[in-house]
């Protein structure tokens, strides 16, 4: 029974971790473009180095 004193805080801590992780994703802007994120995985790798960083400045 004493194990509950370990398990109960542990499970609460796990829950808080999940809330923290959710906030991290929110702050990191992962919900800004849900449709785009779903489509972007279809872009081939060689296409990926096109946007953002150019070959020559």
């Amino acid at each position: 029974m004493n194990v509950i004193f370990l398990l109960a805080p542990f499970s609460v801590a796990l829950g808080m971790l999940a809330v923290g992780a959710f906030f991290w994703t929110l702050r990191a802007g992962q919900y800004e473009d849900i449709k785009g994120a779903a489509e972007r995985i279809l872009i081939d790798d060689e296409d990926l180095d096109g946007p953002g960083d150019k070959q020559e400045p």
Binding site: A8, V19, K35, L42, G52, K54
Partner: protein
Amino acid sequence: MALTFEAASQTDMSAFLRKADDGHARLDLLVTGARCAGCIAKIEREMGALPGVDSARLNLSTGRLSLGLENTGVDPGRIIAALGRLGYPATPYDPGAALVQRDREGRRLILALAVAGFGAMNAMMFSVPIWAGLFDQELGPATRSMMMWMSAAVGAPCAIFAGMTFFESAWRSLRAGRANMDVPISIGVILTLAISFSETILNGRDAYFDAAVSLLFLLLIGRWLDHVLRAKARSAAGDLLALQAPVACVIDNAGRERSIPLGDVQPGDILRVRPGDRIPVDATLEAGEALLDNSLLTGESAPERVGPGQMCRAGAVNTSGLLTLRASARSEDSTLAAIARLVDAGTQSRSRYVRLADRAAALYVPVVHAAALATFAGGWALGLDPREALIRAVAVLIVTCPCALGLAVPAVQVVASARLFKRGVLVKSGAALERLAEIDHVVFDKTGVLTEGRPALVGASPTIIALAAPLARASSHPMARAVARAAGEGPLATEVTEHPGLGVEGLIDGRRARLGRAAFVGVPTLRTGETELWFGFEGESKVRLQFSDVLRPDAGATIAALRARGMTVSILSGDQLGAVRGVAGAVGVSDWRAGLLPEEKSGAIDALAAQGRKVLMIGDGLNDAAALARAHAAIAPGTALAASQNAADLVLTGDALMAVVEAIDVARSARRRALENFSFAAVYNLVAAPAAMLGLVNPFVAALAMSGSSLVVTLNALRVRNRR
């Protein structure tokens, strides 16, 4: 001077560049037409390859392209032109301060929602052993006390944090001397927490920490849905308005064209207005002659001819050539702004509308609180222990959860708006849907609503259209565009010269031809018809092309459908008697008025309202804006001016007028669902409240009943989508 579409793209748009501290610049564009991974890759690759562009990132959900530029010397016009060549029309977008404000509210709500979700689940984890104890499972008093304390340790802080939104709103409303729905919610939550603490300290049996947090969690979902609905509509409406970029083209001392924000235009500035553009501020014509389309201002469909030194009103569309004007008023003082102020006044009158959920709350709150009070007082008087009587009173408050009001109504409205959004109707708020459902009289504007609002060719033979088309394609004049539309794709005339206010001249297969006014083409006529063009090759006979503002194809069907739903229809127009009579006859409306001023229109709406009619106003012009704001509900087409779109509750993003009928149907269906949910909640409370009074409700039953009833009303709300 020659004018082609290349020239039109040379507008200086550097007003939209935002400078960063390190010398770099950012540019936000609204891109239309991007739909898939291929579009993202193509746009980002091509934009990133442009000289001066550091980075490009397209947000597919919002259609916004964010560009990082090397310095402020990069011309946005060239980037927009490059996007246009790729097949994606783009407009500069100014991310306003309103977005920051909106984000803060949304962030706060989602923070509260996440904490409430965490608290509900974790407090319930400790509640499960306590519930087991209620059903004679082995649970010693010491263990139960410990579980209650742990439940309190998790649940109470979460409930207080997540409840702040409600507490603050309740406090604000109480100080204003009114009671909104947040008052009973706050009282219920605070009382529940207090009783649960005292029970925990006194080693009692009933602690409702999990119920308090779950209640907040469910209600916060409702708040969040309502917020998402408004935020999404606001950003979509903002996108529509961004398409009418609020800039003016000014000639500076060096004679160069510069784009400046509308608010920076000073009286005396020299403005340049391209064919098809709107006059940005009230101004006088410097030279030449102008033909102005005032249809959005006055509803009149025939263009107005303006001579040098005469007044051009803000909001009129230039249907002649390139104009040079001298600004005579600042943006705030222009005709446009004057009407916008009328709109503000009207919108305030509409904010007095009390939403369905609040009206239900006004009935629900006194009943529930009286029942709780009666339980306590009655129980005590009938010989119950005061502590037991108090617990029963709290149980009444908990099981009579206001979820049908707080969760189900927003859920219905979100589902309804999402469905309408797909059909090309933008709903600005949930309250707009509620008002739309009550409509019994529909008022149409004529120009731009029942009609297309742009000239269309009538009665010309295909041979003549095909002959004139090469010249028409080279011009940006609205009537020439109508000829080009009628002809479709094809060859372009060469050596094209556009003569402002007169017409266009060029070579078709080596032969010189002219398209324009009678005098310009060389037809001796005394008539000054503004709705006709003449076309002819040099030295040959000339032909006349007649234009008129044609009816929308579904105008008649829409009015018939509205009548079939028991609504009466009338037309209020600022146009001339003859034009209105023709349209009214064609769509079969006998109740019409013509030649109305903006004030007369809004006065007519007020008169209808005074007779007890719930009026829906559909209009696009500036002359409708005040009427739109005064009406019980208002719809504006996406082509409407900014002021009218702001004044309207719903904006049609598509071309079909039939969407109005659809919107009313969906709004009525949403209202039916909401009322069904209210009746379900009433029945549920009629069972749950007496049970709680009799002490039959323990924390387990309360948790089950609350989430069960919430689930039922939410599922019922989702049915809006599946029914036609």
